[in-house]
Symmetry: C2
Subunit: 755 residues, 2 copies
Amino acid sequence: MTTIGDKSGLRVVGTRPVRPDGVDKVTGRAMFGADLHLPGMLEARIKRSPHAHARILGIDTAKALALPGVMSVATAADFPEIPHEVAMAGDGMINYRHLSHNIMARGKVLYHGHAVAAVAATTAAIAEEALELIDVRYEVLEHVLDVEAAMAPDAPLLHEDLFTAGVDPAPSRPSNVAKKVEFNKGDIAAGFAVAEVVVEGRYTTRPTHQGYIEPQACVASWGADGQGLIWSATQGHFMVRAYTAKMMGIDIASIRSIPAEFGGAFGGKTLVYLEPVAMTLSRKAGRPVRLVMSREEVFRASGPTSGSVVEVKLGAKRDGAITAARLVIKLEAGAFGGSSPINPACMCGLAPYDLPNVAITGYDVVSNRPQVAAYRAPGAPIAAFGVESTLDELARRLAMDPIALREKNAARIGTRTVYGVTFHNIGFLEVLAAAKAHPHYSAPLGPNQGRGVGCGFWFNVGGNTSAAVNLSEDGTATVASANPDVGGSRASLAMMAAEVLGVPYEKVRAVVADTASIAPSMLSGGSRVTVSAGTCVVQAAGKVVEELKKRAALMWDIPVEAVEWKDGAAVPAGANAGGFDPLPLAAIAADAHRTGGPIGAEVSTNVQGVAPGLAAHICDVEVDRETGRVTILRYTAVQDVGRAIHPSYVEGQMQGGAVQGIGWALNEEYVFDAEGRMENAGFLDYRMPVASDLPMIDTVMVEVPNPRMPFGAKGVAEVPIVPPTATIANAVRSAVGVRISDLPISPPKLLAALG
Amino acid sequence: MTTIGDKSGLRVVGTRPVRPDGVDKVTGRAMFGADLHLPGMLEARIKRSPHAHARILGIDTAKALALPGVMSVATAADFPEIPHEVAMAGDGMINYRHLSHNIMARGKVLYHGHAVAAVAATTAAIAEEALELIDVRYEVLEHVLDVEAAMAPDAPLLHEDLFTAGVDPAPSRPSNVAKKVEFNKGDIAAGFAVAEVVVEGRYTTRPTHQGYIEPQACVASWGADGQGLIWSATQGHFMVRAYTAKMMGIDIASIRSIPAEFGGAFGGKTLVYLEPVAMTLSRKAGRPVRLVMSREEVFRASGPTSGSVVEVKLGAKRDGAITAARLVIKLEAGAFGGSSPINPACMCGLAPYDLPNVAITGYDVVSNRPQVAAYRAPGAPIAAFGVESTLDELARRLAMDPIALREKNAARIGTRTVYGVTFHNIGFLEVLAAAKAHPHYSAPLGPNQGRGVGCGFWFNVGGNTSAAVNLSEDGTATVASANPDVGGSRASLAMMAAEVLGVPYEKVRAVVADTASIAPSMLSGGSRVTVSAGTCVVQAAGKVVEELKKRAALMWDIPVEAVEWKDGAAVPAGANAGGFDPLPLAAIAADAHRTGGPIGAEVSTNVQGVAPGLAAHICDVEVDRETGRVTILRYTAVQDVGRAIHPSYVEGQMQGGAVQGIGWALNEEYVFDAEGRMENAGFLDYRMPVASDLPMIDTVMVEVPNPRMPFGAKGVAEVPIVPPTATIANAVRSAVGVRISDLPISPPKLLAALG
């Protein structure tokens, strides 16, 4: 079904039809998480901790419950106590006990903004008034925010029962280090011994938020028969269903979870914060409940990515061949251990390179911050910031072109990664060649201007996935996806179905089916949807074509082997076939009731064989030496996209990832006061880049098709955020000769360094 | 998978779990057709004809459009002109041109209440005000209401282009007779020639309405991208999707149709009245539109069943053997030809009996009444009223027990019907035996009391159907049905899935999936859902079991042939299996991501092999000779149900059908004034039976399983409405010696007959 290396046969894949959700979004018709209204619906609000770390001595909800209009109040006492249970979910592991304690604090509050109680009332104003009437008594404890401070032996302990995992022998004393991971390949000491040049660096980053436009929002409705309905803004409605059931101690199938249209996520909607709380309030009140976060709550209580310390040491020969690489990564997990992306950070940092000797150590460390959540290529930009900055220094030391240095060491087919995977398909060399050949790379620069390059890797994900393709009576088709549409999957899935069926894109409509209507699918994350749901859709459409051929054979009364499918029609072929005219899909569909019934197919599978995403970015900056302000003059993102199913969406992903990385590099950071309270919990003070800050991001899609995925597709959404931080730091270094190794490269910091 | 004649192995099928929708319905949580609220939603109203028959000379909507708050107005000019096209849909044929002209009159209005224009406005009050501002100029025409009057040569013609179909040679002049049908078997003249007794009768019935509690209601939302969403109360959301698309001239897949919970239908929601109008208003206004009928509109403009004339002539030997049967049925179609249930009326009337010589003629006749819609076993109660009344007279003439007469002539396995079907499975003799043996049949009667018996037949329907069974991560299961739940199918489908999977009923939750999430299915009608969707569910659950066995084999590393499924668990069996403990479904589901991905199956098929439904009813009445009022003293419904999946629902169907038949027999009728306006368009004046009118209806479920359907099930919902009209007329005859052959047997009519 796939067409590798030859686009000439493709009619739909690779074109740029109008996105199916676009019109609804710009006209306001799209229904987001907060847009559902159910009869009798209550409004809920959450009371949050005013302390970064405190013991809860008691919660008195009596006054709140007595307030007219208040219909229910919930605290941790309304949720079952859950043992530590780490389960596979989404694109990582989830600890259900942590999740439970995060959605409603139990015993202790672990960060400023931690939920302690919730109220559902007939109006939002009453719910807010009721929050004030809930009396929570605290014993305030010392808090700790930053990763290395939390690792100190005398740091305040968040969890008395937390003993570092992954060390041998097991520690006898609790600490804030939840987990240590190690990845080794070759002989690191021998590698450094033969090195002719060694460069080292220490790099630090601050937590950044995904910054999605739509705050978390849901509507939950509990029925007296023990069945619940959830409408919510999420990357995974099956995840919402499973997590909510687990948090409430009920059967998964008792919940029907319907995905709302949602306004951005970038990994931030891969957990539940509100749904189990809203459902519990609904169960207690006997009425539907809407629960929506404010922007301030999003910042204070939903997961940003980790703050980090990254130490890099590279040894190389004078020709640029890297002989050894040592990487130490320390990541903040926020309040609960295991929440940081320490594994992908360790996996991705050096993965673009074919290195003989590698040693990587990673630490997952709790501190009094909101629980970390996934953020686009989780961990990879943090590791790449250190690695790609150090590579830039190595190139300088070797007086080597930075792209040539990377080409010298580039991973290729057959390269075995430090985490044990051998690449069967990888387009890094092609990406580097395209970057080097791009006019941007050789364009002249002016004073105070500099150019940086940086690369990035994301392994991409496949996994459990479901989708269905069904024909209507007139031959138009529906695609039912089990994955919320993060970045255009309704378009790309409909396009793939249209390609296989041989019909125009406009004859196929894709929707996201609810949890009761299709088999479960892992959430939309890991850059997995186009390839994984695409695999299901292409297989399902293929089954539909086989069925259409059978029906045509019945209608013609010839053997099915004598029927071929061509240009959206059955055609007779071979000696056993008569001289029939082509029978178009619509004609077969119209007769389906006479030839065996409705035509459709659902496919569920665990998708294997995805290929990694590789990117190289080029950035020109100009530094204002008076203010320390960095202006992005020109930005080019080059990426191996496998096969661009819908090129406009792919370009959008590349541009969007670059822009998020630029924000992370230059401006975004959480600022805390001495009591551990975030001081900039709003878009006015948390500075994300806006259109006027940026030039148009140029994109180069390099197509190195992956033959195991439909039409050669690869995940494209995450890797674009990986290169920008180092790319910009390298460009600043090039412009003003100063290496900034602590993000963000904000004007005061750069001014001080220039200083 | 099915267990025929042996219920001992069944754990779930045949039990009576709480109905899954029941709690929602009694607590008010269920969302019906009018309960969806979309942001920016408008309210719509329809302007209707004040004349029974008139030419539309012009419609001026300018003033209405100018009214502040009015957002759009629609007339027939907003719908495409559709050629005559008769297509298979639901459980019958639909003429799309008629449907289009019924939802919005074009050129002529054909009945009082016929839609002529519609308005969407910001409030219902504004919409109603706007209706008054629409100026429609009419040329009033002569009208005709009743079937025989409409058949008269000089009757006012509804359609100048209507020429009777089914007559040879084709007529040269138009008439109101849309269709003539004939069914013949044997030699009718010879049959009467050998008859020793001949009885004849002429029977007439009035239109009756389905009387569902919830009026037609929908919300439609059109997107600027040409995709529409419909939420509506319907028996078939795929039907709504297809009909609305056809009425608007758009692709079927461009509409997503979501079935609301709905409050009764009984065949009355097998057509669209509102959805294309609401969608057109939404398209013109650019906002969602809600359109809900009032009860008055339901009576005036949605389909009742036909008024009728039925002529019956039976010839028999003295021993009761019927030698010839002649049946003439004339049915009102309402405004559009082909709408009456003339075919099923002709098919069902004599089908309970094995008769050598039969001649049946049927007429479908238009008149100035609302278009007839399906009503529970469409046409069968009308035919049965004539046939079963005449049989009662024949039994009297022969001095024979009326049940014995029916046993003498009963259809049995091998009987070939007049419409060409040979019964492979039929439980009529068993039903008659159970009726005769019932204590009710031999209980004593008092003065002015009488007992009647009557029988009924419905062929039952299979057809195009889809359903899916999917497992959650914890092993609980969802059943996705493509059929709106009319009478408990969510319960029966979940039960069948639970039976096949070997898990408790509570672990399976069934929902009705929307049109974009599953393959198309014929609407819920014809008593087809339990058997047809049940077939899909049992097959899908069987595929899930096969997959579970495969996964268990993988987990155990033994051949799949060495795995059996028993009591909801995989168990090793045979020489190649090890000594493993049973592996329950939940354990396999929890590991599914490691063994190949999510587990689920969708099945779409054209279900064949349903068996007919047969019923015998016994009724005792007491007649008040002073008022003519008939009191139902005791009522027993005996029916072949094949296998009662959920006996409470089956009993409910039997009771409900009997009650509707009782209403039809005693009270319900449309009363028109001289101008052709219905005078009793409301529940106060249209007299349906209420609980206080009736005794508890006793039910006897006779289980003659149909081996071709899951667990032996048969359609049970329609046949219970077939016997009551004659059963009651026969009881009245028995009580007071008067044969009433014109329904309803209302007090004034009976009083007049009593003289």
